[in-house]
């Protein structure tokens, strides 16, 4: 079964599984701080898998992108998020809109869906690691699900960032990475997005004294 696949591909499969595992852990996590730690761990898994793809396929530019991922997603973004939370003083538990087992159940359905979606694409792809495409799509969807089911602003941002992780993983595992320019561009986008959102948080809190997004519902026009 597993014997026919080279070792590095098995490693990538493992990282893919870890990525998915962390996505589920984020879905099940109630605490904001742990959520950030999980996000950092996901970044680490991503960086490692990128490096392994680079090592296995001999494409040295992937080492660079692994390095960028590492600095950005394991150190810089979590650090910024931590600071943000300290400044905003919002260490409370995340209250999910739907209870957690139900969310996870929906998550499992999404995983099955994602794999069925990815099956035809994977069959076209010629890379050894093509079966991980399903996992990548699944983790994108799970992050999306997390954004939907959370009420507070910070978890939503983390969900957004995790979604980008999934996309990045899809790119590296299925096609051995995007051109460096694109990658750098995306990394910059994420960083800038994060900063802008940080500013927004302060604004939201100024306005409503809370980061609960249900207050935004008041902004709609009442006929």
């Amino acid at each position: 079964m597993a014997a026919g696949i080279p070792f590095y591909a098995q490693l990538i499969n493992l990282f893919a599984a870890v990525l998915l595992l962390i996505s589920f852990a984020m879905l099940a996590q109630r605490r904001v701080l742990s959520l950030i730690d999980l996000f950092a761990a996901q970044g680490l898994a991503l960086a490692l898998s990128t490096a392994v793809v680079g090592w296995g396929t001999g494409q040295s530019h992937l080492y660079w992108s692994a390095g960028v991922t590492l600095t950005l997603k394991v150190f810089l973004l979590p650090f910024l998020l931590y600071r943000l939370i300290r400044r905003l003083d919002v260490k409370w538990d995340v209250e999910p809109l739907i209870n957690i087992p139900t969310t996870m159940l929906v998550g499992i359905v999404l995983v099955v869906f994602a794999f069925n979606l990815a099956a035809p694409i994977s069959n076209l792809s010629s890379t050894v690691t093509r079966s991980t495409l399903g996992i990548a799509i699944a983790s994108v969807m799970l992050s999306f699900l997390m954004m939907i089911t959370r009420r507070k602003a910070i978890p939503q941002v983390i969900g957004f960032l995790a979604m980008e992780n999934g996309l990045f993983f899809a790119a590296t595992s299925a096609t051995y990475g995007m051109p460096m320019v694109v990658e750098l561009g995306i990394a910059l986008d994420v960083l800038v997005g994060m900063l802008i959102l940080g500013v927004f948080f302060f604004q939201i809190r100024e306005q409503f004294d809370s980061l609960d997004l249900k207050h935004l519902e008041q902004l709609r026009e009442d006929e």
Partner: protein
């Protein structure tokens, strides 16, 4: 009439009818009815079971009886599938009859002879359902089964609630019967010949086989209690006297399974994989639904009724898996799954009737059905309590009893699915296996609740001190069923070898040769892959228990001192402080809250007489049944407008109708 098993079966069937008629003739003589007629009926049941065992190994026998309408003689046929279900009917029916001989005492409500008549007609019509070889006989038998059981349900017809339950049952039974009738209509494929032989030969084109399967699933599902047609079960079972509930739950539900198997594997010549997916998902939904609802019940018979829904769900899920395997041509795996299905049907018949009869004894002894008012009965009714313990352990799916064997086989079957070519089905299967495991684990929760609250602990009401144990005949019935549970649990290999002809007939392969490694070891495919030997497990656990006891006595001592239980420093404890049924079910109610429609009434702090009540209702009532009922009522009101009460207006209606018809004919 040809000799052989079919003749024996017919003899038993006629004997039941004769017993019923005798009961009708001497309706008020309780002693005669209970001490003579019911035991003779039990004998007939044993004869039926024996005939079934003979017929399992023999080739199919057919018979045309010139009864019924002039052009439509009765076609009867006894093949392996019928034989298996006849064994189930005969064996369990016999035990229930012996129990009933001791059970029916007072003559409130329906006269004992009348009950005897309904009861035996019920048995005979179930046997006829299993023998029928054309749609005509089948429907006649099916309807008389529904009617006779309706009368059994409404034995205590002076109580309005019971009449309502009976009506609901009759209604859904007929809705289901329409489905079955339409299914046969599709199956005959335009030939106009309603014998099953013609249906086997008919080649249905296009989507018609699927239509037939779905109609069968609907029709037989209504009888079996598949979601969302399950609502009659928890109403009718508590309403009926316990032997009747036992018979309905243990055997009648199985006739629906029989019908489903007959249509989908015998009358339809090929199966499609998505039928299996539908049956699998419906079955699992039913199983989970049933067991979650069973966990919050406070009435012991309702609890068992919901547990029947769960078990039927498991059986239907197994049928779905069999269809999936068969449609992919994996006949060996289909045979293993089918074995699990049949085995579970047999198991459920045994342990569920055992438990229903035990509740009957409890009901007789205490006049109490509510779990919250029972308790501690193991001291007052040791026979019933210990035999019910066997049923409890069996239904919880614990080794080495019988419930575990069928569960084991079904789970093994799930593990084989990765060999299927379809990735979608492949992915469905782990989820299905997980749901099945969850339902099985929840069943243990439910049964611990049932047994612990009824038989263990302290009596919650002072009246329970007068409870008396079951009579001698009742004990015989209970012992028979409990022994069945134990034997079916310990000797699965022998039973599966017996089931092989059914597998051969339905899926074209036998599991027995593969399953039975040797007489001790149950091993589908091969022993390296999986094997299970309940007898060895039982002996080893027993040996360790004995050895431990002996060693502890030998090296230490066996001294025991009796004392009061620890009261946590609070001396005013009463038996009412034990967990009630509501309390025991509360965690499940909380976790599965979306399943229920909860109505809770909490006392305020200032109530002089605080009262707490919680009701967990079924969503389906409000989603499906009440809207239909309301629509029917609205329709009725609309048509009620034309009801004027004056005879001349009605005559005008008839006249106008006549004129319109004449206009058309012209």
């Amino acid at each position: 009439m040809s000799p052989g098993p079919l003749a024996l079966v017919l003899a038993a069937l006629l004997a039941w009818l004769a017993i019923g008629t005798l009961g009708l003739a001497r309706a008020r003589e309780l002693v005669f009815v209970s001490r003579v007629l019911f035991p003779v009926g039990a004998l007939a049941g044993l004869v039926l079971a024996a005939a079934g065992v003979i017929a399992l190994g023999a080739p199919a026998q057919a018979l045309v009886v010139p009864l019924g309408l002039p052009d439509l003689p009765f076609h009867l046929r006894l093949d392996a599938l019928s034989a298996f279900f006849l064994i189930l009917l005969g064996a369990v029916g016999a035990a229930i009859s012996v129990f009933s001989a001791g059970y029916f005492r007072s003559s409130e409500g329906t006269a004992p002879g009348l009950v005897c008549f309904h009861y035996h007609v019920f048995l005979a019509s179930m046997a006829l359902v299993l023998l029928a070889d054309d749609a005509y006989v089948f429907m006649v038998a099916w309807e008389s089964m529904a009617l006779s059981s309706y009368f059994l349900v409404t034995t205590e017809h002076r109580i309005a609630e019971i009449r309502r339950a009976g009506f609901l049952y009759l209604l859904i039974a007929h809705v289901g019967a329409i489905g079955i009738l339409l299914c046969f209509g599709v199956l005959q494929g335009g030939s106009g010949d309603y014998s099953f032989d013609a249906m086997r030969a008919a080649k249905l084109a296009g989507h018609w086989p699927s239509v037939a399967f779905l109609l069968a699933l609907f029709g037989f599902g209504a009888k079996a209690g598949i979601l969302p047609l399950h609502v009659w079960l928890p109403e009718a079972h508590p309403a009926a006297p316990s032997p009747a509930s036992a018979l309905m739950s243990a055997v009648m539900l199985k006739t629906a399974i029989y019908g489903l198997l007959r249509v989908s594997f015998d009358l339809l010549d090929a199966q499609l994989w998505w039928w299996g997916v539908i049956a699998l998902s419906l079955g699992l939904a039913t199983a989970l639904f049933g067991v979650v609802f069973a966990a919050v019940q406070t009435d012991m018979k309702r609890l068992l009724a919901y547990s029947s829904i769960e078990n039927i769900g498991i059986i239907v899920c197994g049928i779905g898996l069999t269809v999936i395997f068969k449609s992919h041509g994996k006949t060996l795996l289909a045979a293993i799954t089918m074995t699990a299905v049949l085995y579970h049907a047999l198991n459920h018949a045994f342990f569920k009737s055992l438990l229903f009869l035990a509740t009957g004894s409890v009901l007789h002894a205490t006049r109490e059905r509510s779990l919250g008012k029972l308790g501690g009965l193991i001291h007052r009714m040791p026979w019933v309590a210990w035999l019910a313990l066997v049923g409890t352990l069996a239904i919880s799916g614990l080794p080495p009893l019988n419930g575990f064997v069928s569960e084991w086989l079904l789970l093994q079957a799930f593990l084989f699915t990765p060999s299927l070519p379809q990735s979608f089905v492949n992915m469905l299967v782990p989820v299905a296996a997980a749901a099945l495991a969850l339902a099985a684990a929840l069943a243990a929760y439910v049964m611990v609740k049932f047994y612990g609250i009824v038989f263990l602990g302290q009596p919650r009401e002072p009246g329970l001190a007068q409870a008396h144990d079951a009579g001698r005949l009742e004990r015989v019935g209970l012992v028979f069923l409990a022994a069945g549970c134990v034997l079916l649990g310990l000797f699965p290999v022998q039973v599966i070898a017996l089931l092989d002809p059914v597998n051969e007939m339905l899926v074209g392969s036998t599991a027995g040769r593969g399953v039975a490694q040797n007489w001790l070891l149950l091993a589908p495919i091969n022993a390296d892959r999986a094997s299970y030997s309940p007898l060895i497990v039982f002996l080893v656990v027993g040996a360790i228990v004995l050895l431990t006891t002996l060693l502890v006595r030998r090296f230490y001592h066996g001294r025991v001192r009796r004392a009061d239980p620890w009261d946590c420093g609070f001396p005013l404890q009463t038996p009412r402080m034990q967990d009630t049924a509501e309390g025991f079910g509360q965690p499940i109610r909380q976790v599965f809250e979306p399943f229920f429609r909860l109505q809770r009434q909490l006392p305020s702090p200032f109530d002089a007489a605080p009262k707490y009540s919680a009701r967990a209702d079924d969503h389906w009532w409000h989603w499906l049944y009440l809207p239909i009922a309301r629509a029917a009522e609205a329709c009725g009101r609309f048509f009620g407008l034309i009801q004027q009460g004056r005879i001349s207006v009605y005559l005008t209606y008839s006249f106008v109708t006549l004129l319109v018809l004449l206009l058309f004919v012209q």
